[in-house]
């Protein structure tokens, strides 16, 4: 059995090399690393929002030194017109009112919270510091997690399809039907190869973009990467077996990518709230990965039981589809 698995694995490596898959993965790694180190971190290193306070009666007594007082409402409006990211506080009434030049109700709550926290730095509105990451390290971990998730969901899923569609086109899958080997090894070999590739990719992403600080979270990150990689590789394998050609596959890919990635990113990284997101399986996988990056590994056994169950179910479905493909006409 091991001999057969080694033969399949070696052949799959050659197929992936000839399909330039490793080159694409390496290219992605270089691109992501350059983007994070020379683009994202610098781009995100923004100044704090300026907070302007109009308090004619001097009611606010514990105001932070970061707040800029103004003497009239007109001056407050002019300040916001010239500094459109700034936050204005009109404390002329009993309760301070927050003013923006432009804002959306859900997405700009953090600006409100920040401004109000400066009115009473020791009060209830003060933000709590979670963890010991510097702002840059937090950004590095966040973006590395997001790009790793995209890479596995998109590139891994497409990668397995590109290799398998070639084999399907050449008809060689049918030859394996009459070979003296356990047919499930054909599936295992491919899944194993993509898993190893994804794990190496994840380790390098952490090393290059989070640095040596990331080594402490690497085991937990690899566990979550493995779960996501297995699910996506099996889903890609199954779709390739069921769909006729790469054109059909790209449509399915669009649906899956949109279904998997878009709501998850929105729910996890913005203040957009979706009540149903708890029922979205990829949300839990993404949060598992994100928590792992921030040193809070997921310990919920239900999550792991669900992930293992999904992987086993997908494997069985893929195996059935693979056997059906082997029996098809040439």
């Amino acid at each position: 059995m091991w001999k057969s698995l080694c033969s399949l694995f070696k052949k799959d490596c050659r197929m992936m090399m000839s399909g330039k898959f490793f080159l694409v993965a390496l290219g992605s790694l270089v691109l992501y690393t350059l983007f994070i180190n020379f683009g994202y971190v610098k781009f995100m290193d923004a100044q704090l929002y300026n907070v302007y306070l109009y308090d004619p009666a001097g009611m606010q007594t514990e105001v932070s030194s970061l707040v800029r007082p103004v003497s009239s409402l007109e001056e407050l409006n002019n300040a916001l017109a010239s500094d459109t990211n700034g936050v204005g506080i009109d404390a002329s009434g009993k309760t301070p009112h927050v003013l923006f030049y432009a804002a959306t109700e859900k997405a700009d709550r953090h600006r409100t919270d920040y401004a109000l926290s400066l009115l009473s730095p020791d009060g209830n509105d003060t933000a709590k510091t979670v963890g010991s990451n510097s702002p840059e390290m937090k950004q590095r971990r966040e973006i590395t997690c997001e790009l790793l998730f995209i890479e596995i969901v998109a590139v891994g899923f497409l990668g397995i399809a590109s290799v398998l569609f070639k084999e399907k086109q050449m008809g060689v899958i049918r030859v394996h039907a009459i070979m003296p080997l356990h047919k499930s090894l054909f599936v295992c070999s491919k899944i194993m190869l993509f898993l190893i590739t994804d794990l190496v990719f994840a380790a390098l992403m952490v090393l290059f973009n989070v640095g040596l600080d990331g080594m402490s979270v690497l085991p937990a990150v690899l566990v979550q990467t493995a779960i996501l990689s297995l699910i996506m590789a099996l889903a890609g394998f199954g779709c390739t077996m069921l769909l006729r050609d790469f054109k059909q596959f790209s449509l399915a890919y669009l649906v899956i990518a949109l279904f998997a990635a878009t709501p998850v990113f929105l729910a996890a990284n913005t203040s957009v709230k979706m009540a149903w997101i708890d029922y979205h399986p990829f949300y839990h996988v993404y949060m598992g990965l994100k928590n792992a990056f921030f040193g809070v590994p997921t310990t919920n056994p239900v999550y792991y039981a669900g992930a293992i169950g999904a992987i086993i179910l997908l494997f069985l479905l893929v195996e059935a589809a693979f056997r059906k493909e082997m029996g098809k006409e040439g």
């Binding site: 057969s4 084999e167 060689v172 080997l181």
Partner: protein, 284 residues
């Protein structure tokens, strides 16, 4: 010993798509058995069932003296070789790499030498290490044949073995199949090519619409369906003439006056004529 025994074999692809309607035949150890039929007649379905690719058949099928449903172990696949209708190979790998890859699933002691086998199949040496994508159809067919033979199978399933070959290649393949028979290999040959069937097969079965309509040696089938007439061309008084006579008339010699016999031709039908007689359809 019977290498293949099929009793009342049925198979259906769906509720109303019955492909095989109770086939009965057997193939003896060391025999070359031809399975002939037009497209969609059930040839490939039968071969797929026999090679263990299609499951869910009805009736009884035994190979190597064991029931097919229980025999499909790795040991079973080690004993069979299959040449598919199309040369399924890894296009990015060379002939040698393809064969080494497929050979790696068999025990080493039963394998033939890759390069010797390709030489036997008159494969061009310059192409040994070039990718299959650069090969002609005939070269691909040679590599596929090598794949089917590499494990020294006891039972060989060949689907259109001479397809895509030039006449010299077809002669070579027939010679190789004959050599396999001499080694004791049983061959189940599925083909459209009547010449292959006539020259190679000990017995042939004609299948149409999922039924076997005739099964015998090619010679018997032709004789049974012959009109037993003979055409004699001859010269008489300086003129060329031709007469058709009944075969028994020859017992007493040529029953007409002649100066010189030019040729005598029996009117025995070809295997294809016999096939059309039985099925009412051509093979293409």
């Amino acid at each position: 010993m019977k290498m293949i025994e099929v009793k009342n074999l049925t198979f259906s692809y769906g509720k109303d798509k019955q492909a095989l309607h109770g086939l009965n035949f057997s193939v003896a150890d060391g025999e070359i058995f031809g399975f002939l039929g037009p497209n969609g007649s059930g040839k490939s379905t039968t071969q797929k069932i026999l090679t263990g690719i299609l499951k869910g058949h009805g009736g009884e099928v035994s190979l190597f003296g064991k029931d097919l449903r229980t025999v499909q172990t790795q040991e079973f696949f080690q004993q069979i070789g299959v040449l598919f209708e199309f040369p399924y190979l890894y296009a990015n790998l060379s002939a040698v790499d393809n064969l080494n890859y497929f050979a790696s699933f068999y025990p080493k002691e039963q394998l033939r030498d890759v390069k010797e086998l390709l030489e036997e199949l008159e494969f061009k040496k310059d192409f040994l290490n070039k990718p299959v994508s650069s090969y002609s159809k005939g070269m691909r067919q040679r590599v596929s044949m090598a794949r089917a033979l590499i494990s020294n199978p006891k039972l060989l399933f060949l689907d259109e073995p001479t397809s895509g070959l030039d006449p010299a290649g077809a002669v070579l393949f027939r010679k190789i199949i004959e050599e396999e028979r001499q080694k004791g290999t049983t061959v189940f040959l599925t083909t459209h090519n009547m010449l292959d069937a006539d020259l190679l097969c000990d017995r042939v079965a004609f299948i149409t619409n999922g039924n076997i309509v005739a099964l015998d040696t090619p010679q018997n089938l032709k004789e049974k369906n012959s009109n037993h007439r003979i055409v004699v061309s001859y010269l008489y008084q300086g003129k060329r003439k031709e007469q058709t006579i009944e075969a028994p008339e020859l017992k007493a010699g040529i029953p007409f006056a002649y100066d010189e016999i030019i040729s005598i031709h029996s009117q025995e039908p070809t295997l294809e004529d016999v096939f059309i007689q039985y099925t009412g359809r051509g093979l293409s």
